[in-house]
Structure formats: C-alpha cells, structure tokens
C-alpha cells in the first residue's frame, strides 16, 4: 500500500470516497453497490446483449410446444403439446438422422481428438529453435482458413474428373472416386478435414501445457534411467492430463453443434443419405420451409441429446481422473 502512493485526488471524480479503501466487511450492501455503480454501467451493455440474444431465444424455445405464428409471438401462439416431437419421432427420417448425427459426431471426436496430443508430444521433443517454431507455425496455419474455403478446396481437389486427388489415383492405376457425391465418403472426408484444419490450434494448447511441466521431473526420470517412451508415458502425459480432460469436455459439449456449418457446406444431393444431420435438417425444415415450431422441437431434441452425451462423458472423465489419482 505504502509503495503505491499517492497523487493529488483528481477533482473530476466526486464519487470517490477515499476514506473507505477497504469496504468489504464494513458498509452495507447498498452502500457497497452505490460505491461501484460505474462497474454496473460497464457491464450493462453485455448484460443487455445476453438478455436479448441469449435469454429471449431461450424463452422462445417454448414454440416447440406450440403452433407458432408470427402475430401471436412466442408466448401467445396456441399450445400444441408434444405433437411436433411425435411427428418427428414418427417420421421416416428420424432413425437415419439420429444415426448420421451421432455417428458423425462420435467418429469426428474419436479420430480427431488424439491427433493434436500426439503432434504436441512429438513436437515437444524437438529442441527449441527455428525448426521447431517453423513446424509449429505450419501445423497451426490452417486454423485461420475459413470453413467455406476449406470446403471449397475439397470440391476442387476431390473433383472426380479434374481434381488433383483423383488424378493421382488415376496415375496410380486406381478407379476415380466420386468423393463429394457418395454417401460412404462423406464421413471420412469430413473427419479428415477436421484433422487437417483444427489439430494445429489444439496442439498449441497442449504445447503450452507441456511447457509448464517442471523440467526437474524429466531430469529426475532420466537419472532413474527412464527412456524417452517412459518419460513420455510417466511425465508428459500425466502433466497434460488436466488439459486433455478440459479440452475433451469442451469437445463433447459442442459435439452436436460445431460440425454443423461444415456439414451444410459439404452437403450435395448425392450424399444426403449420410450428410443430412439433425442440425442441417432443422435449417432446411425451419428456415427454408418455415416450419418454425416443428424444427424448433427438433432443435430442442438435439440440445437434450447433447446434454445427455455431455453428462455421460463428464462422468466418464471424472471416473478416469479418480482412477488416475489413486
């Protein structure tokens, strides 16, 4: 306190009460709030944003149980009960949509999640220097390319007649493949681009976690005769385990949402059979065909599914961590 002194009080701040520097236990709630009214002013715009663009739509979720019409609004449209849910569960697409959505999300998670960990562990073994930072920079760069451009590249490079990949396949004596037009290729291509585009960013997060591991642990392990693999297994991996857990839960929390825009862009009439997921269906039924209540119900179902998955995986992670602590 004494070192951080003290200029003349500024006259333009009449609300400052210099006699109460430590207000926490003393003054009443109202007084403490009045003292900091400007802080509430600072947060007011963000709060207003949250109310309008987050809570208002949440309130609007009720149209899933109503027959929405624009004149009566969210709260005034007539009730419809579970009619929209029943229609969706009874529809022909329901099973396919569910399978496509969960299949895509889980494959994407299982394949793409470990890649940045492996890359980070390997890169971490390189001596710090120019080579390492160049490699890191290259692996990181696709993070900044937009989804639209990545998918645009796919259409160019995978084109059946003119694309580079098919020209290579042809050169090697294989059959040209209709990548963007066949249902069985949708998922592999989708997951492949996730790995290509997103691994770098996560890798950097893991590298930061690895950098914070005490080097003494490595030295001690080395003195004890641990080889590279053993140090990887018993020093590095436990060191980044908390980061892995956090990123895993984040990934699971977004399981049903993140991939939606890319799925929409990669959709063609020919691969619809496997590329139609719940979210793209909501977009089509809701915004293109204006079936607001029906598609809001489907969206709500998707959120609930996501929540269930999140809770399941969260329990799994905490059990694994509990096991690791013993």
């Amino acid at each position: 306190m004494t070192t951080l002194t003290l200029r003349r009080p500024k006259p333009e701040a009449p609300d400052a009460r210099p006699r109460h520097p430590q207000p926490t236990p003393g003054p009443s709630l109202a007084k403490r709030m009045a003292l900091r009214w400007q802080l509430y002013v600072l947060i007011a715009p963000a709060l207003l944003y949250i109310v309008v663009f987050k809570f208002w739509p949440m309130y609007g979720v009720q149209i899933a149980f109503r027959n929405f019409n624009p004149f009566d609004g969210f709260g005034g449209s007539p009730w419809a009960g579970l009619q929209h849910f029943q229609r969706f569960f009874g529809s022909a697409q329901f099973a396919t949509l569910l399978e496509n959505t969960i299949g895509l999300a889980v494959t994407n998670l299982v394949v793409a999640f470990p890649v940045p960990i492996i890359l980070a562990l390997m890169l971490n073994q390189l001596p710090a220097g120019r080579l390492r930072s160049v490699v890191q920079g290259i692996l990181y760069s696709p993070t900044f390319i937009s989804t639209v451009v990545v998918v645009g590249m796919l259409y160019l490079l995978l084109s059946p007649r003119t694309g580079m990949v098919n020209n290579a396949i042809d050169l090697l004596g294989g059959e040209r493949i209709l990548f963007m037009g066949s249902p069985e290729w949708f998922r592999p291509v989708f997951v492949g681009t996730t790995v290509w585009q997103e691994s770098g960013f996560q890798m950097v997060i893991y590298l930061a976690a690895l950098a914070s591991i005490d080097p003494a642990l490595h030295d001690a392990a080395r003195v004890d005769g641990a080889n590279t693999w053993q140090r990887l297994r018993h020093v590095d991996l436990p060191g980044i385990a908390p980061t892995i857990a956090v990123l895993f839960l984040l990934a699971v929390g977004n399981l049903m949402n993140v991939s939606f825009e890319k799925a929409l862009l990669m959709q063609t009439p020919l691969n619809l059979e496997s590329s139609q997921i719940i979210q793209t269906y909501v977009y089509q039924a809701g915004l293109q065909q204006a079936q607001f209540s029906y598609s809001a119900a489907i969206g709500l179902f998707n959120s609930l599914l996501n929540l269930v998955l999140l809770l399941t995986f969260a329990r799994l992670v905490s059990r694994l961590q509990g096991g690791a602590d013993q």
Binding site: L4, Y49, Y155, N167, L247
Partner: protein
Amino acid sequence: MPSARPAGPPTRGRSAGERAYTAVAALVLGGAVVAILYPLWFIVVASLSNPDAVNAGEVWLLPSGFTTDGYARLLSDATVWRGIGNSALYTSLATVVSCALVLTSGYVLARRDLPWRRLLTVLFMTTMFFDGGLIPRYLVVKDLGLLDSVWAMVLPNALAVWNVMIARTYFRSAIPHELREASQLDGASEFRHFFSIVLPLSKPLVGVMVLIHLVWNWNAFFDALIFLGDDTKYPLQLVLRNILIRSEVAAQGNLTSDLASYAEAQRVGELVKYAMVVVSTLPLLIVSPFAQRYLNRGGVSGALKA
C-alpha cells in the same frame, strides 16, 4: 548397494530407443507438414497454370503454361470486390463491438469486491450450457427488425461467453487488486481506473481479443446466409461459397461471360476458383505467425487451467 541402475545396457537401449523415437517423430511431423502444405502449394500452382494441364493431371509441383488470367478475372470482378468491402465493414464493426463487450464484462466479473458478481457470473455462464437454438434465435433477430441490415452481422453473435471467461481470468491474474485501492486513493473513478489503468496494462489480452474476433468475423458465413437476403450485402465468405461450392461462376455472369462456349467458361471457371482460394487464404496465412505469438502471450492457454 548393488547397482540398481546398471550403467551400460540402459544407456545403449535408451539411445537406440531415442533414435527410433526421433525417427518416428520426424516421420509423423514431416508427414503432417507435407499434408498441410502440399494442398495449399498445389492450389497456388494450379491458380497460375493452364487449366487444361491442371485438369488432365499434368501439374504437380510447378506451374505449367504460366498464366495470371484467373487473378485478372477475379480482381476485375465487382461481386468479389463488393464482398470484400462488405466483409471489411462487418468485420471491423463486429470486432469493435465484441471487444468492447468482452473486455468490459470480463473486467467487471473479475472484480472480487463487486456485490452480486456471483449472480452475474451465473447469468453469463448459463449461456454456455443452454441455448435457444437456431429457430428461436432467427425469430428474435427477425422480431428486432435486423434482417438484411448491417447489425444482423454484428449483434447476434457479438459476445461469446467463453471469451469473457478468458478475459476474466486474465484480469484476475495479471492486474493486482491493490491497483484499484491505490487509484481510489488518488480519486480515480471506476471508469477512469478501467480505461486509463487496466486497459493499458492489458495489451496482450486486448491484442488476442481483437485477433480472435477479426479472424472469426472475417471467416463467418452462416449468419449472413440466414440473416441476409439481399445479395449486394453478402460478405466475402458467402460470395466464395456461391462460386466455389455452388459453382455459380457461370451464373455470376461477369467472371466468364466473355467466353464463347460453355466448356470454355467451365475450364476458365476452375482457374478462377483456384485463384479465389489463394486470394482469400493468403492474408490469413500471412497474419498467422504473428497471431500465434500473440495467442501464446495473451494467456489463452492459461485460461484453460483456471
């Protein structure tokens, strides 16, 4: 004591193991580098080559039949330039608004002496776990009369609570609480403290937030797809989507309209697409190294540990 760690064999084993490991790591990392760079390099090469050679699979590493026709057509196209202009407008506005919201709310939530901060934090955090979904969100934007306006590109996604939490963690760890006591003794108001003391001390955080929002907004396309109907207002990403993915090169007219036959338009259309990927990717790839340094410094990864 008998040697618990026999000196000879493990050293040998370790060096052999280490060499094997280095080889595997070099292979994997080298493979990853090639897998990322080659497609990008190929697209650059293809954008400068005779489309017939590219389409026939005769171009692999270096341009053949060098041409800059693709770029010339692209850069003389009004639709593309209008997209770039729109994107610049939306991106700069949205970045300013988002950063203002994130920094102010992150700072206020970081203050431990603020009455009701728990309630406020809970309100913010709720939005990380619950979401109205696409349809109610669309209807709210429509009810507000924002459809087809600049604000539809700025407001609906202005605040990601995840970023607020990063900012909050940063303010808590990097700005000592005692600073406020000192400035209060000096008679500084909360506003003055925030703008003249806290913000100047938080340059790394501000840098990260500006960067994240710039890239994010520049690359966004979905809000434009659902909120904008008027194609003169389309941002670059939506223009790109229409040309790259929906192949509206010919339909856009101006890019290949001077060409006589459909086949010719098709052929040059591919060239334009390659050029388009390069033009839209290059700025971001140039920014990338700086971005990386900033992100490392600004404690984005540190926030994960909180």
